[in-house]
Amino acid sequence: MTTKDIGPKNPVEQGVTQVVDFVDERSGVKNSGRWLMFRNIPAGTSWFQTLGFTAMALFGMQAITGIILAMYYKPDPNTAFGSIAHITNEVTWGWMVRGMHKWGASVMIVIVFLHMGRVFIWGAYKYPRELTWVTGAMLLLMTMFMGLTGYLLVWDQKAYWATVVAVNIFASAPILGPYIGDILRAGPEFGPDTLSRFYSIHMLLIPGGIATFIGLHLYFIIRLGISEPPWAKRALRVQRDEEDARRKAARNREAGLKGSVSFPPAWVDDEQEVKR
């Protein structure tokens, strides 16, 4: 990089540079940031590969709208429904924040499923990305569980009884079922503590799990690199070259069997190509 010295910098710029340099000296953030941003990805990367990032953005949006809702929501059986009504009808922009959180959940689930579908159809879960898939599967389950626990929080009849049924289903599982039921209900029956337990699971436990697993997921993605679309121009060219080589090898083998030994070295090379 060439630098053009055009005299002393203005004090603000100087200050910023000093702070950045101070942090960089201790963390090396400039180098790793540059590596992260400007590392190469396969050239044919497609629009389908934006879905994971979109899921992440939606998770961020759910976190922000959720934090705002938590400022007004009261996780107590006597006040929960009223506080939701307050958010919906009285708080400025409250209906909007609630609407975004509710619709955001549905859209996030759709996007996560589409993302998983793209990974599946491309075979992007194959070596070396098996663990990226496994961490992703955990993210899917946790996302669904967010929907389940959030549903109860509005504390209306439909959600309440649907959750009673859902918890009954968990509790009916052999061996561990009864314990899981008790843990979810905060006791053998739906009671006053059930709602605050669901609230805690919905806004602390699972989001923490999702954030952790997004971290793991991203670690694998960045370490292994994003896969190339199966139909990328480069991949197709390589495949075509391989096909050609295979055909050539077959032709040469035929020729070789007939006793014509015109170019044995190429024959040996092509054999190798075929094994691969």
């Binding site: 992260l36 194959k126 599967a137 669904m144 009673v164 199966p230």
Partner: protein, 246 residues
């Protein structure tokens, strides 16, 4: 995958990367556009389709429609598929076996399909599985969205021969949302509970039926909060269905 396949893949991917483009800006700009669109869709939905308030919870009133959010409809429909079999094991199929098998398959899938092939048209097994799972999920979700949620207010059951106790039992049945999970002579939701048109054929006595109402098998919730005489009448009604009351 064999060692040679792994080496070949690593070599091929390194070549793809070498011919590649920097993450910033080539991937980032696409990511930003699609994520922005998704958030825009959420905002538009939030404005145009307002979220409503339901009825506040009243644990004493069991007049309810236990319906999950749409993304659990497939699980709900699964319950219905196994609802009309009599033994208890099939319920376990829908509540435990099938979901857990699906979850395990989901998690270990990369260790099942390990071949090096990535081209879509060369992986008939994986693509067949994808088509099966996707169409199955869509179909069940569609079913869940389109089936009736029970019965309308004021609708009655097409039964004859009810005596006083059975009539009282029918009223309890209708008032407590039983028909949002059970069907009698074509009236009510076709699941997740089994059809009750011929419930009397089981030959249960009232004590057994009352006990069931208090401690049923999941996913049915408990109705222990109902007054004893309501439970008694309800049991008389149910134990005569298909035999005395047709």
């Amino acid at each position: 995958m064999k060692k040679a396949d792994k080496v070949a893949y690593d070599k091929d991917y390194a070549a793809a990367k070498k011919d590649g483009k920097p993450f910033f800006p080539y991937a980032i700009y696409k990511d930003t556009i699609i994520a922005g669109l998704a958030i825009l869709v959420v905002i538009v939905l939030a404005i145009t389709v307002r979220v409503e308030m339901g009825e506040p919870v009243n644990p004493a009133s069991t007049d309810f429609l236990p319906r999950p959010d749409w993304y659990f409809y497939f699980a709900f429909e699964l319950l219905k598929i196994f609802a009309n079999q009599n033994a208890l094991t099939p319920v376990i199929m829908a509540t435990f076996m099938v979901p857990n098998i699906l979850i395990i398959l989901l998690v270990i899938w990369p260790f099942i399909d390990r071949g090096p092939e990535r081209r879509i048209w060369k992986r008939p097994f994986a693509m067949g599985t994808a088509v099966l799972v996707i169409s199955g999920l869509c179909y069940l979700t569609f079913l869940g969205a389109s089936t009736p949620e029970g019965i309308a207010k004021g609708e009655t059951l097409p039964l004859t021969g009810l005596d006083a106790a059975a009539s009282a039992g029918e009223a309890v049945y209708l008032a407590n949302g039983c028909s949002s999970c059970h069907m009698i002579k074509g009236v009510g939701a076709p699941g997740p509970g089994p059809e009750l048109t011929n419930e009397g054929a089981k030959g249960w006595d009232n004590a057994k039926m009352v006990q069931w109402m208090k401690v049923p098998v999941a996913p049915m919730p408990s109705f222990a909060s109902l007054p004893p005489e309501d439970l008694e009448n309800l049991s008389t009604f149910l134990n005569g269905l298909g035999t005395k009351y047709k």
